[in-house]
């Protein structure tokens, strides 16, 4: 939060004041402090290790379970105090103002949940066998109020402090969807904590939260491994490319272009991930093509042309054993097929060509045309689009060309920089580009 508008400050002030007033009104008589203290500590612990949802702004933790347990065990005021314990979370990051707002927001939501619990006929105190199943309805009401109040107050402040340029932050969507559901799921554990308290006392919340904490730990580990994985694949792909100055960054850009197309046609998340890797890996087989063939300026002999045509198969040989890539494998193998059936290596036509391959083909050719080659400069984006359109229906799938053009109009294209040829011997210069539809490989007629 940078500089805040007056309305935003007013909003935060209103939330803080109402939280303070409601809690101060009490009643404090008959408040069971042992529950409040223990559950408060629990909130502090879980807030200290909250999961970051988006950089710098939203965090999330299972403390709603502890707050709802306190709704049942200690009533609205007790719940508000437990909610206010979020202020003491040891997490670094939030500013003073953010902390004050968070504290007031949680206290207010927990208090409202406690009121809802009472209004629906819930009884504050340790539940016993007679409490079930009567307690379930008031508890569900309280859980709903807590989650909705929490999300509502948070959405309000995020909306008021949104960046002035009016970029759609997606806050409303992000908050209302899966997060709301998972919060409700965690909230259900509040009742379990309260119910188990009669059997094992303060041990109950610890036991209930351990599996949830472990699950979160595993999710964090997963995210970390995935990041590492991506970086490693990227580095290795780059290693394959370093041999040729003109194609540096090609895989990365083809990967980005394929993802643009995939998103545009509404592929679902997992397939988009797979096509991203397919784009990065689509040319690894080029390593099997002898350097002298890549460097040749004149027409290619039949054998040399065959060597180039083999590279998708070589690529497949390399990545075949990577388990998750099933569909991507087909894409890598067939990314040089043409809609009219005159491509390689199999000469598939139309719908026989796997969808991934048809997507890759468009992005691949586009990046080739907009990059500098030894035999020509980089062509402008508009010209390359025209070229794609020209070959649409013969070489490319028209649907994906249209999707790509639409995505390009919206998002733009980060084209490759003109290569600077350094005076070392590490890279070669290809004389022909097998990806370039404007300059097809020339083969000596065998006549």
């Amino acid at each position: 939060m940078g500089k805040l508008s007056r309305v935003a400050l007013l909003y935060i002030g209103a939330v803080v004041v109402s939280a303070v007033v409601l809690v101060a009104r009490g009643p404090f008589t008959g408040l069971r402090w042992q529950y409040v203290v223990f559950l408060g500590i629990l909130v502090i612990v879980s807030e200290s290790r909250a999961t970051q949802l988006r950089k710098g702004q939203l965090t999330w933790s299972p403390s709603s379970a502890a707050m709802l347990a306190s709704v049942v065990l200690a009533g609205p005021v007790g719940a508000a105090i437990v909610g206010a314990c979020t202020a003491l979370g040891l997490r670094r990051g939030p500013s003073i103002l953010q902390r004050v707002f968070n504290t007031a927001m949680y206290a207010l939501s927990a208090y409202l949940a406690g009121r809802a619990f009472l209004a629906l006929g819930g009884q504050v105190g340790l539940p016993d066998e007679q409490s079930f199943p009567g307690i379930i309805a008031p508890f569900a009401g309280a859980a709903l109020v807590l989650v909705v109040a929490n999300h509502g107050l948070l959405s309000g402040v995020l909306w008021l402090t949104r960046p002035p340029d009016g970029t759609p932050s997606g806050v409303g969507v992000g908050l209302s969807g899966r997060l709301l559901l998972s919060d409700l799921g965690y909230a259900a554990y509040g009742l379990l904590i309260a119910a188990l308290w009669s059997v094992v006392g303060f041990f109950a919340p610890l036991l209930v939260l351990i599996p949830l904490f472990v699950a979160r730990w595993a999710v964090a580990q997963f995210a970390e491994q995935q990041k590492a994985y991506e970086a490693t694949v990227g580095a290795l792909c780059q290693a394959v490319e370093t041999k040729d100055f003109y194609t540096r960054g090609h895989s990365d850009r083809v990967s980005r272009g394929s993802v643009m197309i995939a998103r545009e046609i509404g592929m679902h998340g997992e397939r988009v991930e797979a096509i991203r890797y397919a784009g990065m890996l689509h040319d690894v087989g080029k390593l099997g093509v002898p350097t002298k063939v890549l460097q040749k300026t004149g027409k290619l002999t039949e054998e040399e042309y065959a060597a180039i045509q083999l590279h998708p198969m070589r690529g497949l040989d390399i990545v075949r054993e990577i388990g998750f890539l099933d569909e991507a494998l087909a894409g890598i193998m067939h990314h040089h097929e043409r809609i009219d059936g005159r491509g390689y290596p199999m000469g598939l036509a139309g719908d026989e060509i796997p969808e991934f391959a048809r997507v890759l083909a468009v992005a691949d050719a586009f990046d080739s045309m907009t990059s500098t080659r030894s035999y020509r400069g980089a062509r402008p984006v508009a010209e390359a689009i025209e070229e794609l359109r020209k070959w649409s229906g013969t070489q490319f799938d028209p649907a994906f060309v249209d999707a790509f053009v639409a995505a390009l109009k919206r998002e733009g294209w980060l084209r490759s920089e003109a290569p600077v040829i350094a005076a070392d011997d590490l890279a070669t210069v290809t004389a022909q580009d097998h990806d370039d539809p404007g300059a097809p490989l020339r083969v000596i007629d065998s006549l």
């Binding site: 066998e129 079930f132 554990y189 379990l192 119910a195 188990l196 009669s198 059997v199 094992v200 006392g201 041990f203 109950a204 610890l206 036991l207 209930v208 351990i210 599996p211 949830l212 472990v214 699950a215 979160r216 730990w217 595993a218 999710v219 580990q221 997963f222 491994q225 995935q226 990041k227 590492a228 994985y229 970086a231 490693t232 694949v233 990227g234 580095a235 290795l236 780059q238 290693a239 394959v240 370093t242 041999k243 690894v284 087989g285 390593l287 099997g288 070589r314 040989d317 390399i318 990545v319 075949r320 054993e321 990577i322 388990g323 998750f324 011997d425 590490l426 890279a427 070669t428």
Partner: protein, 445 residues
């Protein structure tokens, strides 16, 4: 034999086919027989006395079977059944279901758990996956231990009256069961992979700790909650464990994919004709075996495997690749150049800093007698290369001399040649470990 994550080792399955009597190592056999004998006795006893509270027994048996169907593969080829294990432990620790006081015997716990496990293993067999009898035997023995200690105490009125005592006792027994599982699994791995026991135990605990905590907590929750909500507790408290298991499955999945990808991409040097086919795979397998022999822990072993797989990746950056790869027959400068270039490539990934360092120093001699040679002149006392680099150096040299040949005589000659060079080039301890690994392999052949 390296199998850090989800690999199907073609090498070892071939071995198994040729030597069927080697399929089960002696330790595994002992364990399975012990569990089997105990089981037969328990079933006989239960049959003679009749089943107590059959409804509860069936519910828990079903939960155990369900958990066994949903087995989980953790990194390092560890198969576990968290939900089944938690269910079996909970059944052993049960005192009340609702207001009803349960009185099943320890023998009945063993019987129900075993039947549940066997039923749950059937689908695995049906789709052609191994039944993993030794893992089941380990879990059964742990559950049996808890049951034989706790069942006689459960009917003790002191335990029933003081919840603090019951909670402490049950928690202690759960921890004991998890520790026992780690110890038994570590023993099996010592037997199977020739790892050192202390190393294997530490690795086992490190991998199992988070999931073990979730399993233990869920077992206790089910046992306690059954008193408040009856058998519904089984479903309610299996849910968080299910969520945990899904998270772990994704984590293990990406770990396996990571290793597969590095293995695959390390092969680009072979496809490009820079290196003899299968070289990186053989060097990595040998390096991991040596590392295990030398007592390297699993996380470092994984780094060693990555480094060994990618040790020739620097070839890609050379204009004119050296035919045949960075063999011992090439000049030191060329070797060093390939190592540096390879390390630079790996460094790009940012997350593999120590792997890059291992690759960078893979050619450094063990004792640097000639400072100028590796460009580190000026350092008064050059530091020894890391152990992993020394291992790769030896494994690489061995593979250059032997290649894919399986001839024991040639292998022995290669080891002898490396041994002669331990004065300066190779680390003597590493070469001795290599010799032990190679000898074991020749005995097998």
């Amino acid at each position: 034999m390296s199998d850090l994550a989800g690999r199907t080792p073609a090498h070892s399955s071939r071995e198994m086919r040729r030597y069927p009597w080697r399929v089960r190592d002696s330790g595994q056999l002992l364990l399975v027989v012990a569990a089997g004998v105990w089981l037969v006795a328990a079933v006989a006893q239960t049959a003679a006395e009749g089943l107590q509270d059959p409804r509860i027994a069936i519910a828990f048996g079903a939960l155990i079977a369900f958990g066994e169907v949903l087995r989980l593969n953790l990194p390092g080829d560890r198969e576990t059944a968290p939900i089944g294990f938690a269910g079996a432990l909970a059944y052993a620790l049960l005192i009340n279901v609702g207001t009803k006081f349960v009185q099943h015997s320890a023998e009945q716990v063993v019987t129900v758990a075993a039947i549940g496990m066997i039923i749950g293993a059937l689908p695995h067999l049906a789709v052609g996956r191994p039944a993993r009898v030794s893992g089941m035997a380990v879990r059964l023995l742990c559950v049996a231990c808890v049951a034989y200690i706790f069942r006689p105490l459960a009917s003790n009125s002191a335990v029933e009256r003081h919840w603090g005592l019951a909670v402490t006792l049950m928690t202690a027994l759960t921890v004991l069961a998890l520790l026992l599982e780690a110890v038994l699994t570590a023993l099996l791995r010592v037997d199977e992979q020739r790892a050192r026991f202390r190393v294997a135990l530490v690795d086992e605990m490190r991998v199992q700790l988070p999931l073990g905590a979730a399993v233990g907590a869920s077992a206790l929750l089910i046992a306690f909650a059954a008193e408040v909500m009856g058998l519904a507790a089984l479903a309610v408290f299996t849910a968080p464990l299910l969520v945990t298991q899904v998270a772990f499955r994704r984590y293990a999945g990406i770990r396996a994919t990571y290793l597969q990808t590095v293995r695959a991409l390390a092969k680009v040097t072979e496809i490009g004709g820079y290196v003899e086919a299968g070289h990186s795979e053989r060097v990595s397998r040998l390096a991991v075996a040596i590392g295990r022999e030398l007592g390297i822990h699993e996380p470092q072993l994984l780094e060693l495997e990555y480094a060994a797989l990618m040790h020739d990746i620097g070839q890609l950056s050379l204009h004119d690749p050296i035919p045949g790869g960075a063999t011992v027959l090439v000049s030191r400068q060329d070797q060093q150049r390939i190592a540096e270039l390879g390390a630079d490539v790996i460094q790009q990934a940012q997350v593999l800093g120590s792997v890059a360092e291992i690759v960078r120093r893979q050619n450094e001699p063990y004792r640097d007698t000639d400072h100028a040679a590796n460009g580190r002149a000026g350092l008064a006392e050059p530091s020894r290369p890391p152990l992993s680099s020394r291992i790769i150096k030896a494994a690489n040299a061995f593979d250059d001399l032997v290649g894919s040949s399986l001839d024991p005589g040639r292998a022995a000659a290669a080891v002898q040649r490396l041994r002669l060079d331990t004065a300066s080039e190779y680390d003597p301890a590493t070469v001795e470990a290599l010799s032990r690994v190679v000898n074991r392999r020749s005995v097998l052949l």
